[in-house]
């Protein structure tokens, strides 16, 4: 957790669109995608910011549907990482019917 570090780097606020919030499966999807980037990734809800590559951290946020989280990255390809992760969250993690994340035959 960064807490009192100086926060910098590209960041985006996104709203959790899926009905069940950032529960175990989306948390795992988020962490898997974060881990593909070399930069540091943080995700925050309110005052709590956690390491975006930590399943324990992301689950701890317990971000419910409609809540806003901030995704922030520092280091190589930081902007790209933030965009990719924001897109994942906005797609509803492929679990929302209306979100367009579902796969068609």
């Amino acid at each position: 957790m960064s807490g009192n570090e100086i926060e910098s780097g590209p960041a985006r606020h996104v709203t959790i669109p899926n009905e069940l919030g950032l529960h175990a499966r989306p948390a795992a999807a988020f962490v898997k995608l974060s881990s593909r980037f070399d930069c540091e990734i943080y995700i925050a809800k309110g005052d709590l910011e956690v390491n975006g590559k930590s399943i324990m951290g992301v689950m701890m946020l317990a971000a419910e549907c409609g809540s806003t989280v901030r995704i922030r990255a520092e280091g190589p390809a930081a902007a790209e990482a933030v965009e990719a992760l924001a897109a994942l969250v906005e797609s509803g993690f492929g679990e929302n019917y209306a979100g367009g994340g579902s796969v068609r035959a």
Partner: protein
Amino acid sequence: MSTVEGIGAAPGRALGRVHRLEAEAAPVPHRTIAPEEVEAEVRRFEQARAAARERLEALKTETGDRFGPYDAGMFEAQMLMVDDPMIEEGTLAYIRENYLAAERAFDLQMLEHRVRLLDSGKTMEIDRLSDLHDVRHRVLSTLLDLPEPEIPEGDEPLILVARDLPPSLAARLDAARVVGFVTERGSRAGHSVLIAKSLGIPAVVGVTAALEALPHGCRALIDGRTGRIVCDPDEPEIEAFRRGVVRLEARRERLVEASPERPTRTADEVEVTIQANVDRPDEVARARTLGAAGVGLFRSEFLVIGHREIPSEAEQYEAYRMAVEAFPDREVVLRTFDLGGDKFPMFLEMPREENPYLGWRAIRVCLDLPDLFLNQLRAAVRASAHGDLKILIPFVTSVDEIERTRALIGRVYDELGEAAPAGRVPLGIMVETPAAVELLDRIAPHVDFVSLGTNDLTQYVLAVDRGNAKLAAVFEPLHPALLAQYRRIVRACRTHDLPVGVCGELAGDPVGLAVLIGLGFRRFSISLSTLTEQREVARGVVAAELRKLVDGADWEDGAACRAEVAAYLEDRGVFEGDAARLSGE
């Protein structure tokens, strides 16, 4: 000799020696290190993590090979936890800054995370605790050189007794060695139970203080249907069990000769359709080999229970398509998520309820979470292009629920547009609440078929919790009040020319099946473990005689009904006293 009662979760009987699994890890001793030992300690921790990761990967592969990708997926969360940077950072800080030994540092970290998860207070996170516990144990066992909870070498049949069966262990069970298991926790629909059913071994769950009641090394006889456990059984009990094994062997030999392709007809040539209840798509092929005339109940909970994840539409579509393609010429009836009650998915924040069986479950959950439901309906509609798929909704108590489901299905077709398969997927309901029985005349025009669920109907008509071991004797699906309900269902379905089947456990019991045939039911869906035996029961009876027997009787209780029908079956030579599966010594 003493007996203990639990909840029968996977059918069959077994005799074996009790092997207790101590799931709780030993307390980790406090140990500090010298500053110059820090790097060696860090390496020790990293090696233990690597070992845990490797073991999990092997387990995932092994489980995938044995049970398929759905079960292998359960190790994903643990793999992410092993690699968790917060846990790593915290542990390393304790080693480097507080000079704690690796095991102590890691244990403290895990404790902190446990507390944080508990604080977050959400059901889904709390359910993650069992994963966290498994990971803690796995890493610590390397650091402290503890043996993994393994099944000891040997040939003697074992009955595992544990507070909870870790999923990683359940997935590795060898049915030749472990003939059954007993747990203090767990529900009928738990992941371990599904695995027990796949392996064909009995399981009894919810046995309070099982660890105290069943000492390590004692012999035990367990009945996974009634939930009864006999500790140190006496000679007569063992004799009875052995006679059962001999009878069963003889019966099996006869059954091998009964060709599965032969249609099921009673002795008086009445056609009876025997279909299979399946819990997983890979069981469909087996159902076909056994000669089932389709799948009358395809439970979809395998996609959610124990997996801690919402299944995606793509994953569901694949599973449903695989099922219908395995049975190209027969119907496959897919029951939509029957969540709630004792089946808690880990991704849903289920409300804490005083009476979960009277609460937010099944169709109520689905209609409240349209995204979840639409995902499933859409996967089902798409899969229906590949075979004869039908949709069955559970726990219906009103016409409105059916109409709302129809509207959602309509929306799926509209949205699929040209990609939608031709025609409409047939929709049916489970008749398993007194309200549904009462309203059948009104419901009939809104559905294409109905299916009788005897377990829930019994539970709601008799006001008895089927999960309560103390009330096992009161849970009687042949109670006169239930026979009256079954009669009403047959009558209403005849009036409306509505196809009706029975998919409850009663049809898997020889006496139950005979009574249902006598009442006029002709379509049954039965679990794979008793399907072949039940086909033989159906072939051995005379439908007209059963009808006379059942119509003419006015049994005062379930026992009287059982006794008379069992006597009839014995006369016909189709009843072996106990047709339950037996395994063990």
